[in-house]
Structures are given as structure tokens and as C-alpha cells.
Amino acid sequence: MDLWRRAANPWGQDVLIGVSWDLMWSAVIAAVAFVIGHALWVRMRKEEAHEPPADVPAGIPEKIERHSFASRAFHWVMSIAMLVLLVTAFVPVMGLQFNWVDLHWQAGVLLILTVVYHVIHAIGWQDFWSMFQLGVSEGVATLKHILSPEAPAPPKAGKYPFDHRMYHHVIVVVSLAAIITGVLMMVRIDTPLWTRNPYLFSDTTWGVMYVVHGLSGVSLILLVASHIYFALRPEKRWITWSMVRGWIDREHYLEHFDPAKWVVTDGGMKSVDGTTPGTGAVAEQIPSAKRED
């Protein structure tokens, strides 16, 4: 299997022109394998007993807001952009041909806008650091638990558990790589934004850029597939729903989160029946939420 696609440039020099499409197929296969593997693994793993919390601390509302409307909107717009990008990038290579280029760069522009929005929003309005906690011990414990069910369950998480945080970081790195290279690559196609100039960089530089873009794209196949998979898993659906409805219920909150790390106050969250939505996510209100490390 080739990792790269190479070609002789007009001067006969050997240059990189992108990643091998074999990698795309590998990613697809890996994604499928992971999904199947994980599903089997979960099946084989013995059921973990989740004891319902013995008592409900005072002041915890019944519905706890996890994602503000702004966050949800961001997430879904971004996911649409991402899916469009992936579909327009890879489906034609797989053989189903359609006019993908315009859609691809337009979705790319949308993705960039959502990312910019997200960054500003996260810095200005969200608890930026709640996502950027390192949480080494939490990570070690999580890993141990995954590897062996015998190992004690990791300590309950703050608003963003370790695996979520890690996924976010990977996605940040990969998406930024795709975005930066993608923006530069737009210089080579026709858009209303500027005159194309394929000679902005040398062949070699362009080649590296194409490879980085391709690798990020291929990685995104894996990342997005696994993300969707987890979102659809029955035991995770409560959290998936939170990305739709915005809130989680108290039971899941208490079961999965450490109220000390994700502090929820009774902000008068009533219920879904039309009353004021909660101000549950303390982290969103208190920028200086306690950091674990």
C-alpha cells in the first residue's frame, strides 16, 4: 500500500501530490473495524453495576443545562460542515461522482466560521479551561478501567470527562491542520474570493500541504465515524440528547459527574414544561471554576 501519491512535475522532478487513496480506504476499514470491535468488546465486557446515587444533594435541579443553545448551534452547524466536507472529499473518490469542489470549499468556509465563532465563544463566554484541563490521573484511571474492568472506575469527571477532552484535542489539531492547509489550497482553485495562483508555493511545499490535508481528512474519517458511533450507542444516548435538548437529567448528572468538579447550583431550573431553562452549568458562569491540576 502506498502512503503518498507522487508525480513527476513538468520538469520531471518527483514531487508529492497528496496522500494515497489507499489511506482513505484504510481509514474506512479501520473505522468499521473499530465500531464492530468496540461493540463486541462492550458486549463481552461484563455489565458494570451502576448504583444509583443514594441521595440527591440539595440544590440540584431536575434538568441540568449542559449545552447552551449557542453551543448546540455551533456543534450542529459544524457537524454539518464537517460531514459535507468529508462526503465531498471522499465520496467522489469512492466512485460516486458529483460536483463536489464548490460544496467542499463552501463547507470549508462554513467550518472556519463556526470554528472562529466557537473559539471566541469559548474564550469569552464559556469556561475555556474546563476543556483544557489535563487531568493526568483521571486519564490514567480511565485507561486502566478500559483495559480491565477489574480496575476501579475512574473518578467521576467534571463537565468534560477525560475521553471527551481528548477527543476534542485531537479534533482541534486535525481540523486546524485541515483548515489551514485547506485555506491555502483554496488559492489553487477558482473561488470568488481571489485569483487562483498555483505557484504561490513551490511544488514541494504544496505537496506537503496536500499530504497534511489528506492525512487530516483521512483521520477525520476515523474521528467522525467513532464520534457518531459513540453518540449512537445506547448507553451514551443521554449525552447525545443533551446536544439536542441542551440538558441532562439529574440522575445522569449524579451518576457520571462529580458535582464538585461540575458545580451545579439551583438556579431555579424548573422543568421542561416551559419554565425558565436552567442556569445549571456553573462552569459557564464562573470563569474561575476550579481546576483540577
Partner: protein
């Protein structure tokens, strides 16, 4: 009475072979054990070979060997070698591989690992003139034998003007001034200033420069495509540094050269060297794609022209700047262009500045009417524009500015042996019916507009000959040994006609011997610059005169009486003592020996003629002489071209409706062939003006018009079904025969008649760029020109 040979239509003796497929061009020869060479061409316009690994290629079955640049002769400076490790244009041959068949050789080329270091390159000469601009060579962009390389640039001030669309005032390596142009312009009633671009274009003869060679001991047998035979043998010997007498050069036919194969080709060294290395015959079949590179091209010009006119239309001053795109190995067109401008418009006051710029494009060489064709096609429409603006009839403005017999031109006031440009114009006016045509100029028919124009084009058309050599054998036939080449002009036969006529021969008793150096050639001129007709009719005439003297002396010795009282006719010599066949005379000459049979040669024949004469000595009565006719002044021919076109304003398409070409080329030896030369040259000029192009991608320095369908030489449907030609027919007074050459001047005439006629159809607007393809014209009509005024290599 023997037939008249001068002025008759006689098919050349090689025509039968040509039309039955028997004629053998270089690629038609075979030799036992012959192998095939293929070339690896440079992919970059300027580079250095860093590493070559041919091991995989050499290991292939059927691959014999590789020939590298260090095994071929090379010289310092901007000089071409047949293979190089420092390619100066995309497509320059780097190495050759020989294999048992072409397919294996091609596969072997692909199997070679080769690594190049790209170097800065320049395609547009103006870029190299800009301060800080790239050069075609690592060491500079100008070269002189004494001082070596230098870096020649114009100043920022010059370029400020260039970029502002004004005529700059640059210094140039070549500059000359006649009269006082500055004051003359002040007196001009009209001063026209134009920027004109003439494209470079490849020669593309039908036969690519394929060739084959093998060695037999010390003797090289070379089968080449060349315009000139005798001179090529010496050129090849010089290049290979071997004794010329060790070369058997076979060049029976040449499928066109047009200046690109004057003394053979550079690539003819490759089979010669390769076959010596591997000791097998080597065939190098040059493809059309390769021909685009290793064939030659006409240099392009970027020109600023200022022309002053008096009220009556007389051109009184010219200021001309030419930047020439010269490729990596130079060309001299621009110098000639300056001379021709002065000759054609006789301004009396002229300044010429020119610079030849090395560029990383395929090599340039003389192409039919070099320099002259370009400048004429560029300037004639400007002359007509002046006529239009001054209200002077366009025919009259050509006529009044054309030179008369006393013309002096160029920086050294060169003179001509004869000039009848005015007569050519007058005759053309009548044949074309200029006055009637002028009446329909500008007439519309739907979207089509009629335009008429004239191009008057001079060019050198002769030189003094070298040696002539012929022998009358006991069979009574006259064998004319021609050292000139057989490049398709029929001069191989026609230059023997005045000689044969002088000796009273009927054409059936004349044998032309040519095409193989073993058959003995005398020293001859190169076939270039339309020299042959003049030079070689003279040389042959001199040899025939020598033969005639000897015939008479032999006859007088045999029959009695004075030699001068004998005359020749139809293969017999007759006089007071009776009559004898020339066959008998030949026998007697052999018996007499000495100078009669060529055992003793005249002192003044060239050393290169001697060995050839020795081959024939003793085989008959030899006529051999050097051309000592002398003469003063340059020999020039003229063609006046008249064209009528129809321009479709909705598509930019131009249809050539009528064309008349009338020449002043002295005595007409072969009318039909002369007509063919007038038309052929004119049509090549039309191709230059209308279709042929030379396009490079500026980023990569790579040409794209590298095949026929992209380079677009004119085809059957690009010319009218009817053309007319005429000849003034006034013999050149300084010449025993009076014939002048014709190859070069029609090119400028055909091109200029078209550029002028198109400008006329455009209402007098000169696009000042060639080729005038539909896109260029339509864009101009729409007022949205696509190319910059000075942009070169586009289209």
C-alpha cells in the same frame, strides 16, 4: 541548334525518383547491423546534470551503449554541442542511448535515472534586459570572443519608458546612425511611432533531421539531411576533427531546410560518434517533437519603430530599436533587419539600435529571409499607414520610397549590383489590378470587409561562386559535378543549365552528379541566403568556359585550324577542319592528358576541389575553374507582393482572396520553378503573418507549439486556389548569366502583403503583432486586446 536551356521549364532529373518513392532521404538508408539511437532531452529550460545512472538501462536486453556529453566535441561560450550536461533550453539533447530497436531504445531512455539542478532561465528577452532580470547563462547574457561574458541591462529609466508604452532611449551593443535623424524628424510632416512584436517560429521542414552513420576503418559514411553537400562534409569533419577526405557524405535528397540545415545539423554528429564508439551503424530518427527542439527557429523581435515622412510621402527618417530573441546560441537577423529597413525605405537619415539577447528557448538560425522577412512584415503596414494619413496612394508610397540603382544603404553605404524594385512594383500593380482593387478596399459584405495591401521585400540573392567542375566523358555526355546540395529548389540541375547551354548540349545529354562525396564535388558555396543560383551558375559557367576552350583546342589539335574557329552544338564540335563528337573529343583529351583531362589543375582552384578533381582526372575532358568573374556590390533580389483579403469582423477570420508576387531576380532560368519559389516563399511568409506560432509557458519555460497542429504551418486551405506570379526578367549586369537568387525575398513579401492588407481591412489600424490569428484580430476589433503590446511567445 541545341535547345535553349535557360528560360525553359525542364523537370529536374531527380523528379522520377522523388515521385516513385525511390529517392532516398537520410532516414531511408539502411546498413547491416544498424542499431537505433534515441535522445534524452532536457526537461528544464536551463539546468545542470547532477547525476546520471544508466545502469538499469544498460542492463536491458537489446541496449548497446550510452553516449554522454563528455564524449562529444564542445566549445566554451554560447556554442552548441550535440549533447550537453548543461542544457540551455527545454528539449536540448543530454545523452543518447543505442539499442537494437527503437522501442528498446525508448524504454532504455525511460529507465535512466537522471537528476538535474534547475538554473534561472529567461524566455522573454526583455526580462533579461531589465535591471536585476534573469540571464540565459550563469555568467551573463552577452558574450564576446575577447571579453567573455558580461551582464547587459537597460536602465530603470529605459524601462520606465518601455512600461509607459513609449520608445526608450537605451544603449545597445549594435548601434549605427546615418545622416541626421533628429533634425530629419523635426522636418517630417508625419512621424509614426509604433511598438511591434514579431514572433519566433520554427522552420519545421517536412523531413526531420534524422541521419545515419557507420565507419569502415577510418572512413566515416554519413547519411545526412543537409542543404549543402560539399560544405557539410567539411563542417562535419571540422566538428569531429577528422580528415575531410575520410568522410563519405551521402546527402542525395533533403526534405527541406529553409535555413535550418545549411551545413548539415548539429545532431548529425551523434550517429557519427556513437557508431565509432560501438562499431555498428547507428540510425538517429529525429521525431517531429524533437525537430521542434533541435531543429531551428526564426528569432522573434520586439521592436520600437519611429518613421518620419515628408508631405509627399517620402520617408525621411527612421529610428529603429530591435530586441532579438536569440535562443541560447545566437542569431544575426536583427543586423540584417536594420540594413533592410534602410534599403527598402531609403530614408537617408537613420538610427539603428539592436541587441541580441540569449534566451533559454530552442536554438535560432537563419530562416528564409532572416531579419528581412520580419522587418518587412512589420514595417510595410506602417508605411501604408503613412500613405493613408498623408493622403498618398499606397502603391505610390511604396514606389517612391523603393530604392533605385544608385542606392547606398546600411552603415557602410553598401551598393547593389542591380535593383528593379520599381519595375517589380509596376508589373505587380498591373497583374493585381491595384487600382480596381483599391476601389473595393474597405467594402463590406455582411460582416466581411475587404482589404488590400502591398509588401515589397528585398533580400540578398547571390554571391560570387567558388569552383565549378564538369567532365565530358567518352560517351559524349556532360557530367556536371555539383557540390551544392539538393534541397528541393531544383538548383541542383538549374545551375548547370547555362553551362550546358554554353557547351551546346541538349538536356538529355547532361548528367547531374551530386549527393555523394565519393562522386567528387568541387568546392561550393553553402546553400543559404539564396546564393546558389548566382554563385553556382557562375562557377559552372566558368568551368564550362574552361571546357569550351579545351574542346576547341582539342578539336583544333585534331582537325587543324585555329581553336577559336571551332564551335559546339548538340554534342559536336565543328570548325574549319571538320566536325567531331564531343565523345571523341573526350577520348582525345584523355590521350592528351595534362589540363585537358584534369591531370593538371588550374592554380587558383580551392584546395578542397583538388582531391575531388583527382578522382575524375583522366576520365574525360574536364572543365574546371574558379569563379573569377568578380563584381562590385551586393546582389539582391526583390519580390513585390500584392494581397487582397476579406476580414470577418464577427470572427476575426481572414481569408486571403488573391495574391500576386512579382520578382526582380535577374535572368529567369527555370520559370516554373521560379514561380514555385515565389509562391512557396510567399506562403511561408503568410504562415508567419497568419498562423505559425511559438508559445511558452512562462512559469516552466516549456514550449507548447511543438507539433504541427500546435505550430500551425499553413496548409492547402490557408491559401487561395489561384495565385499569380511574374518576373521582371532584367539580367544582372555584373553576372555572366545574369541570374539572381529567389529563395529569401518572397517570404517578406507574402507576409507584408498580408499584414498590410489586414491593416487595411481593419480600417488602417495596425495590430503590430504577428501572427494575426482570429483571436488577436477579434480582440482588437472588440477593443479588448488580449496580449501586452510587447508580449512575446504568446498565442
Amino acid at each position: 541548334m541545341a535547345e535553349r536551356l535557360v528560360g525553359a521549364d525542364i523537370a529536374p532529373p531527380d523528379l522520377h525518383a522523388k515521385i516513385t518513392g525511390r529517392a532516398r532521404y537520410a532516414e531511408d538508408f539502411r546498413a547491416p547491423g544498424m542499431v537505433f539511437a534515441k535522445l534524452l532531452l532536457s526537461p528544464m529550460p536551463h539546468a545542470r546534470v547532477r547525476r546520471v545512472d544508466a545502469s538499469r538501462a544498460l542492463a536491458m536486453e537489446g541496449v548497446i551503449d550510452i553516449l554522454r556529453a563528455d564524449e562529444v566535441p564542445s566549445r566554451d561560450g554560447p556554442r552548441e554541442a550535440c549533447l550537453t550536461d548543461t542544457p540551455r533550453y527545454e528539449g536540448e539533447p543530454i545523452l543518447a542511448v543505442a539499442a537494437v530497436d527503437e522501442e528498446t531504445a525508448a524504454a532504455a531512455i525511460e529507465a535512466i535515472e537522471i537528476d538535474f539542478e534547475p538554473l534561472p532561465f529567461v524566455i522573454d528577452p526583455l526580462e533579461s534586459l531589465r535591471p536585476g532580470g534573469p540571464n540565459a547563462y550563469v555568467d551573463g547574457n552577452q558574450f564576446s570572443g575577447q571579453d567573455g561574458w558580461s551582464d547587459f541591462k537597460w536602465t530603470n529609466t529605459d524601462f520606465a519608458k518601455v512600461d509607459a508604452g513609449e520608445m526608450p532611449d537605451p544603449s545597445c551593443p549594435v548601434e549605427w546612425t546615418k545622416g541626421d535623424p533628429e533634425s530629419a524628424f523635426a522636418e517630417s510632416a508625419l512621424v509614426l511611432e509604433e511598438t511591434i512584436v514579431h514572433q519566433s517560429l520554427t522552420h519545421h521542414p517536412m523531413e526531420p533531421r534524422s541521419n545515419m552513420a557507420y565507419w569502415e576503418g577510418e572512413t566515416l559514411h554519413a547519411f545526412v539531411s543537409t542543404q549543402s553537400s560539399q560544405q557539410t562534409k567539411f563542417a562535419l569533419a571540422g566538428a569531429l576533427q577528422i580528415d575531410p577526405e575520410n568522410i563519405n557524405l551521402v546527402s542525395e535528397y533533403c526534405g527541406g531546410g529553409f535555413g535550418s540545415k545549411i551545413a548539415g545539423t548539429t545532431v548529425m554528429q551523434i550517429p557519427a560518434l556513437f557508431s565509432r564508439k560501438i562499431n555498428r551503424p547507428v540510425m538517429l530518427r529525429i521525431t517531429r517533437y524533437e525537430e521542434n527542439y533541435v531543429g531551428r527557429a526564426r528569432p522573434g523581435f520586439q521592436t520600437w519603430l519611429k518613421m518620419g515622412f515628408l508631405q509627399d510621402g517620402k520617408c525621411n527618417a527612421i529610428d529603429l530599436i530591435i530586441v532579438q530573441e536569440s535562443g541560447p546560441y545566437g542569431a544575426g537577423d536583427f543586423n540584417t533587419a536594420g540594413m533592410i529597413a534602410d534599403l527598402t525605405y531609403t530614408p537617408q537619415n537613420m538610427r539603428f539600435r539592436g541587441v541580441s539577447m540569449y534566451t533559454n528557448t530552442p536554438p535560432k538560425a537563419a530562416q528564409r529571409g532572416p531579419g528581412g522577412a520580419q522587418i518587412i512584415s512589420m514595417m510595410e503596414p506602417i508605411l501604408e499607414k503613412a500613405g493613408r494619413e498623408l493622403g498618398v496612394d499606397r502603391f505610390e508610397i511604396h514606389r517612391m520610397n523603393a530604392p533605385r540603382g544608385d542606392v547606398q544603404f546600411g552603415p557602410r553605404n553598401a551598393t547593389l549590383t542591380s535593383v528593379h524594385a520599381v519595375e517589380a512594383l509596376d508589373q505587380g500593380r498591373e497583374m493585381f489590378d491595384w487600382d480596381a482593387k483599391l476601389a473595393i478596399s474597405g467594402k463590406r459584405n455582411g460582416s466581411k470587409v475587404t482589404g488590400v495591401g502591398i509588401g515589397l521585400s528585398p533580400y540578398t540573392a547571390g554571391s560570387r561562386g567558388r569552383d565549378g567542375m564538369m567532365i565530358i566523358r567518352p560517351d559524349g555526355k556532360l557530367y556536371v559535378h555539383q557540390g551544392i546540395g539538393n534541397l528541393g529548389t531544383h538548383s541542383i540541375a538549374d545551375t548547370a543549365r547555362p553551362a550546358a547551354e554554353l557547351l551546346g548540349y541538349n538536356w538529355k545529354d547532361v548528367e547531374i552528379v551530386w549527393g555523394n562525396s565519393a562522386r567528387a564535388y568541387p568546392r561550393s558555396t553553402v546553400q543559404a541566403g539564396s546564393q546558389t543560383t548566382t554563385a553556382h551558375t557562375r562557377a559552372n559557367h566558368a568551368a564550362a568556359t574552361d571546357a569550351l576552350r579545351k574542346i576547341r583546342e582539342v578539336a583544333a589539335a585534331a582537325l587543324g585550324g585555329s581553336a577559336s574557329s571551332y564551335s559546339v552544338d548538340s554534342g559536336r564540335v565543328s570548325g574549319p577542319g571538320g566536325t567531331m563528337t564531343l565523345g571523341r573529343i573526350a577520348e582525345r583529351a584523355i590521350a592528351m592528358g595534362g589540363e585537358y583531362s584534369g591531370e593538371v589543375l588550374p592554380d587558383d582552384v580551392h584546395a578542397q576541389t583538388v582531391p575531388a578533381a583527382q578522382i575524375l582526372a583522366g576520365e574525360g575532358l574536364m572543365g574546371i575553374a574558379r569563379d573569377n568573374y568578380g563584381g562590385e556590390g551586393n546582389i539582391y533580389s526583390w519580390v513585390a507582393g500584392f494581397a487582397m483579403v476579406e476580414l470577418d469582423e464577427e470572427t476575426g477570420m481572414v481569408e486571403l482572396k488573391e495574391y500576386v508576387g512579382v520578382t526582380d531576380c535577374g535572368t529567369v532560368i527555370h520559370p516554373r520553378s521560379l514561380g514555385a519559389q515565389v509562391f512557396g516563399g510567399s506562403i511561408q511568409g503568410m504562415g508567419m503573418a497568419m498562423t505559425q506560432r511559438w508559445v511558452f509557458d512562462p512559469q516552466w519555460g516549456v514550449p507548447f507549439a511543438n507539433r504541427f497542429y500546435t505550430a500551425r504551418p499553413p496548409g492547402f486551405l490557408d491559401i487561395p486556389a489561384d495565385l499569380k506570379w511574374g518576373a521582371v526578367g532584367i539580367p544582372d549586369p555584373q553576372d555572366p548569366v545574369g541570374a539572381k537568387g529567389i529563395g529569401e525575398p518572397p517570404v517578406g513579401a507574402g507576409a507584408a502583403a498580408l499584414t498590410s492588407a489586414i491593416a487595411d481591412a481593419m480600417g488602417g489600424r495596425c495590430v503590430c503583432r504577428t501572427p494575426l490569428t482570429p483571436d488577436v484580430l477579434l480582440a482588437e476589433i472588440e477593443g479588448r486586446p488580449m496580449y501586452g503590446r510587447l508580449e512575446q511567445h504568446v498565442g
